[in-house]
Each structure stands twice: as structure tokens, then as C-alpha cells.
């Protein structure tokens, strides 16, 4: 396919090509679904679905069905069940989920352990991933499922965002909230199953959540956060599989450690960045007046934003307050001449 010299060694093996492809699909789909789980504060729900999927894997192994298929059935049923329990809004719903999750993992171990052919070690490749044993058929199934997850999530993104942001408003504006929530749960279940051979059922939640946690530290909007998270997800999963090939480490756990390393790097960067920004930036005095197009203060175009000339100070909107900007120095002031500037809203404007 490629001239030998142009291809890195890792790509000369068929099983590694398949592994990298599978990793790419998982890295793409997991953070896309995960962002809505983070938004709904359901970060650990994927972990629970993984527990239930394990029972499906065990049943598949014992009955000689494809474990991917039986795991998919179990995970989707769990997803619908979770949303129905949540929609009823009972306080005992939390306990019901715990029963479902731990029931799933216990059932999986017992079914495998008591069958003649299986031992609990058969489950290891599903619990922690075994990407190098992925077959071509597996990869085709994963690719198809990942495509479904990615395109459905992309199409429903504005509605999933609206429902996760404010469920009550979404309901009042006529959106089918319960249907959208069940759809998200099913997308999560499918992602769990797609990822179980790559990162494993015990670690899949990490790939859905950690890239999003990282993106939240560096992005400024929901839109950019999704993009950053998907890029991080792909970098971690493909990078993890590559690393595992050279370092001879388990792929799933390597992917998760890379994701966490990126998160720690972003957290460090963002805290240093915030500290510097806080030192360089000075909030204006608190005033009840809100600047606006007709607020009576002179508007000064400044870089790519607008300053309001307020009693000789330049006030620029920043987060929930106003910053003091020094036009001459072209940066925020380090100090003010008068620490308690008088309230001058009724004074004539100074040029």
C-alpha cells in the first residue's frame, strides 16, 4: 500500500493499523457524548453502564453469541432504565442506579465463573481493553457504531445543549426532554460498548470525561470546548495506542494516563495564567451604573473592544464586572491615582 521506507514500523502490522483506527473512532465519539454528561453532572454514568455491559459480555461469552452484541443490548437497556428512573425524580433513584450497576458487574462475574468454558480472566480483556486482538470485523462494527454516535450527537447538539443547560426551560419551550435524555443515554451506552475493546469497561468513563475537563480549562465557549475535547480525545487515544506499542504497556490504561497528564498540564497552565491575569488586571470601582450604547459615557474604541470613559477612567466589560484600562499604556493599570473615585454618574461628561 505504501512504499516501505515512508511508513513507520508501527503501521506495517495489520493489527496495529486496526488498533489505531479503532482508537481514532473511540477518541472521536467519547468526548462528544461526554460533554453533555459533564454538563448534566452525570460524569460517572458511563462507568455504571460499563458495569452493566460486563453482564452482557459474560452472557455473550457463555452463550457463544458475539459479546459486543450482547453487551450492546445490556448497556442500551440500562441506559433506558437509568433515564426512566431519573425522570421519575424519586430520591431513591440514586440507590436504584447503584443496585443496577453493581448488580450488573456481579452478574457478569458469576455467569462467567459458573459456566464450564469460562473463567473470570476471560473478562479481563473487556474490563481493561485488549486492542491488539481487535479483528477486522470488530473494527468495522466499531466504525459503524462510532459514525452513528458522532453524527447523531452532532445533529442533536443544539437540543442536547439546551436540555442539559436548563431542563425546565426546554420543557416549557416544547422540546421533547425525556426523549432527548433517553437518546443521550443510549448514545452513551453505544460509546461504552465501542470503547470496551480499546480502553476497557472500567476506564471508558475517563475518555468521555477527562478530555472535556481539560477543554473546560482552556476553552471560552461551549462550541470551542467541544472541538478542543474531541481533538484531545483523538490525540489521547491514538497517542496512547502508539505509546503502548513502543513501551509495551496496556493500551487502555496508557490512553487514560495520557489524558490525565494533559489535564494536569492544562490545569497548571490555567492556574498560572489566571494568576498573571489577576495581577495585571484591575477591576473598576463598583458602580450601579451599567455602561451601554446610550449610557451617557463617551465610547472609546480600543483594540478589539470598547471602553467607556467614566470620570477619566476607561471601563471595559470583563466577565461580570468592569476593568480599568489604561489607553496610553495599552494595558490594564497597576494602580489608580485615587483609590476611592467619587461617584460621578450625574456629573457632566469629561472628554
Amino acid at each position: 500500500m505504501f512504499p516501505e521506507a515512508a511508513v513507520p514500523e508501527i503501521l506495517t502490522y495489520d493489527f496495529m493499523q486496526l488498533a489505531l483506527l479503532a482508537a481514532f473512532f473511540v477518541g472521536l465519539a467519547a468526548p462528544m457524548v461526554g460533554v453533555f454528561l459533564v454538563q448534566r453532572r452525570l460524569s460517572l454514568i458511563g462507568d455504571g453502564m460499563g458495569h452493566v455491559a460486563l453482564a452482557g459480555v459474560a452472557v455473550g461469552v457463555v452463550t457463544n453469541q458475539a459479546p459486543v452484541l450482547t453487551a450492546l443490548v445490556f448497556a442500551v437497556l440500562a441506559a433506558v432504565g437509568i433515564e426512566l428512573v431519573r425522570a421519575r425524580g424519586r430520591t431513591s433513584g440514586d440507590v436504584a442506579l447503584a443496585v443496577m450497576f453493581y448488580g450488573g458487574i456481579a452478574l457478569g462475574v458469576v455467569v462467567i465463573g459458573t459456566s464450564s468454558g469460562g473463567t473470570p480472566t476471560n473478562l479481563d480483556s473487556y474490563l481493561f481493553g485488549a486492542i491488539s486482538t481487535t479483528t477486522e470485523t470488530d473494527v468495522k462494527v466499531f466504525a459503524a457504531l462510532a459514525l452513528v454516535v458522532v453524527s447523531t450527537t452532532w445533529a442533536l447538539r443544539p437540543r442536547l445543549f439546551a436540555v442539559a443547560n436548563d431542563e425546565e426551560y426546554a420543557r416549557a419551550s416544547g422540546m421533547r426532554v425525556t426523549a432527548l435524555n433517553i437518546t443521550l443515554a443510549v448514545l452513551t451506552a453505544v460509546t461504552v460498548v465501542v470503547a470496551m475493546r480499546v480502553v476497557g469497561l472500567l476506564l471508558i468513563s475517563a475518555l468521555m470525561i477527562v478530555p472535556n475537563a481539560t477543554a473546560q480549562l482552556v476553552a471560552g465557549s461551549f462550541r470551542s470546548a467541544i472541538r478542543v475535547a474531541v481533538v484531545i480525545g483523538v490525540v489521547c487515544s491514538v497517542g496512547g495506542v502508539t505509546t503502548s506499542y513502543y513501551a509495551d504497556s496496556p493500551a487502555g490504561a496508557t490512553i487514560v494516563l495520557i489524558a490525565i497528564a494533559l489535564f494536569l498540564a492544562a490545569a497548571t497552565y490555567s492556574s498560572v495564567h489566571d494568576r498573571i491575569a489577576r495581577r495585571r488586571h484591575l477591576e473598576a470601582e463598583r458602580h450601579e451604573h451599567e455602561h451601554g450604547p446610550n449610557c451617557g459615557h463617551l465610547v472609546v474604541e480600543h483594540d478589539n473592544h470598547v471602553d467607556y470613559l467614566h470620570d477619566g477612567h476607561h471601563h471595559a466589560a470583563h466577565q461580570g464586572h468592569y476593568d480599568e484600562h489604561d489607553l496610553a499604556l495599552h494595558r490594564t493599570r497597576d494602580h489608580l491615582a485615587d483609590p476611592n473615585p467619587p461617584d460621578t454618574h450625574d456629573d457632566p461628561l469629561r472628554p
Binding site: 454538563q39 453532572r41 445543549f161 425546565e168 419551550s173 473546560q216 471560552g220 465557549s221 458602580h287 455602561h291
Partner: protein, 281 residues
């Protein structure tokens, strides 16, 4: 003109528990109605019933002449919920939140076109947040978040705004700004139904005051009549507590609209009707 909201002996509640009973009320275009009442008086249950957020248990309810059970034009009701319904678990800019208000007008993919963006910008400008469009809402103050929610409702180009406690838990400075925003909307002829604990921030914008107690309407008057029957309401420090202490007995009105009330500047006009390529374009 048929009423925007029309209730006849309506009752609302959750499951089989009736919270609001036997309420009759008509709200017409251009009216700005405050619904007052203590906690548990049923005022929130009433407006949530209109929005389909709880169960309609009896009586007749019609929105824009359509029975509630068949009402599908949800975007005509601009709902401004309490602030705590807004999740700030992930980054979202003010403009992204306001864009949610456009969803009922968009195709099934819900993609934002140029006209949507114009309406989003216009809505943010109306609540005085034009310069915070790209700011993460979780960094905004409580009052500013409230105004983002008002802008989201405005972006759906509603015929009536339904607000749940817009001024509760907001600092004094933000209350001032909120009052200005409400006054600006009234100037444009907006119809509003405002659930509130206290009238102070709403003085001057209301055309009608409805009080609830025990799940029923106990008073339905003009602000002037309300002042006469509640002398303490003139006090600047009038607040929820002394308001709730009033004895409403003997004030049970029939809940019907009084035709001699202040006529609105331009009845039926939505707050965003002047947007380029406006409604229905």
C-alpha cells in the same frame, strides 16, 4: 381580540395533588400583571401550569384561544425561570444561552443563521448585555444571569413574557437595572406575567396586580386600587414580609379583567418586532 391567557375555574397541581383551584383569569395583550403571594400560595404552580410544567387538573385553560391540551406554539410564551435552573457546569457564553431561545424557530438541525444572530444580539442589547455576549455566564453576577434568561426568552420572539421571581435574590444595583429592563420592555408594548414576592422593583410598569393565597385568587386590582387597599405599600421598604401579613379577606374578586385600565402603548407588539426582517420573515 381574544385573550392571551384565559382561565375558567382552572386547577393545576402535581399528580393528584391540587395546588391551584378554581382560578378564573383573563390576560390581554399589553397588560403587565404581577402575581403576588406568599410561598405556597400557588402563584408559581399557576404559571408553571400555563407552561405545561405540571398537570392541568380541571376547568378550562386556553392560550391564544387554543385549549391548553392542544397548544403547540410554545415559543409564543417567553418563559424566564428562576436563575437556579441554569446549569453552569460547563462553559457557555451568554450568546450561546440566548441562542437556545431561537431553537423553536429553527429546523431540526437547529443551526443558527444570520437572522437568528441578529435577534440574539438584539435580545442581549435589550437587557443591556450587548458587551457581554461572549462572556462565560458562570462569571456573570446573579442579576446579569437573570437578564441573560430574559434575553433567551426574548429571542424566541414571544407574545407574552412569563417571569418567575425575576428580582428575587438579586442585589440592589442589579434590581435597579432589572427594573430599567422591564420598563424598556413595557415601553415596547410587551405583555408580561410576573410572579413576584415584592412590588418595589416593579412600581410604575404594572397595569394589574393579582394576589394569590391558598391556591386561589384573593385579589385582582389595578396598582392604584392596590395602593388604596394596602396603605403600607407606599413605603419604600415595603417587602414580602409585611405584604404577606395583610389580611386579604373581603377582597375576593371575580378574577375578570377591568376594562378601564391603562391602555398599552401598542397592544400586541412583541418586544423584538422592529428587528430587521422581523416576525414571520
Amino acid at each position: 381580540m381574544s385573550a392571551i391567557v384565559s382561565l375558567r375555574s382552572a386547577s393545576f397541581g402535581y399528580a393528584d395533588r391540587e395546588v391551584v383551584s378554581e382560578v378564573s383569569l383573563d390576560i390581554h395583550a399589553g397588560e403587565v400583571v404581577a402575581v403576588l403571594g406568599a410561598n405556597g400560595s400557588g402563584k408559581s404552580t399557576l404559571v408553571k401550569g400555563l407552561l405545561g410544567l405540571n398537570n392541568h387538573l380541571g376547568g378550562e385553560v386556553a392560550l391564544f384561544g387554543t385549549p391548553l391540551a392542544h397548544f403547540r406554539e410554545h415559543a409564543r410564551l417567553g418563559y424566564v425561570p428562576q436563575r437556579h435552573t441554569l446549569s453552569t457546569s460547563v462553559r457557555a457564553t451568554a450568546a450561546e444561552i440566548v441562542a437556545i431561545g431561537r431553537l423553536p424557530h429553527q429546523g431540526w438541525l437547529g443551526r443558527t443563521n444570520r437572522r437568528d444572530r441578529e435577534i440574539i444580539d438584539e435580545s442581549l442589547a435589550l437587557v443591556g448585555l450587548a458587551d457581554r455576549a461572549t462572556v462565560d455566564v458562570s462569571t456573570l453576577s446573579g442579576g446579569q444571569q437573570r437578564r441573560v434568561l430574559i434575553a433567551r426568552a426574548l429571542a424566541s420572539q414571544p407574545d407574552v413574557l412569563i417571569m418567575d421571581e425575576p428580582t428575587a435574590g438579586v442585589d440592589l444595583a442589579s434590581q435597579e437595572v432589572l427594573s430599567q429592563v422591564l420598563a424598556r420592555l413595557v415601553e415596547r408594548g410587551a405583555t408580561m406575567l410576573i410572579v413576584t414576592h415584592e412590588l418595589r422593583a416593579l412600581r410604575g410598569v404594572l397595569t394589574r396586580i393579582v394576589e394569590m393565597g391558598g391556591g386561589r385568587i384573593t385579589l385582582d386590582v389595578t396598582p392604584a386600587e392596590h395602593d388604596r387597599s394596602h396603605p403600607t405599600a407606599h413605603r419604600a421598604d415595603h417587602d414580602a414580609h409585611d405584604h404577606d401579613a395583610h389580611d386579604h379577606d373581603g377582597h375576593h374578586h371575580d378574577g375578570h379583567h377591568h376594562d378601564d385600565e391603562v391602555s398599552p402603548p401598542s397592544p400586541g407588539a412583541g418586544p423584538l418586532d422592529h428587528v430587521p426582517g422581523g416576525r414571520g420573515a
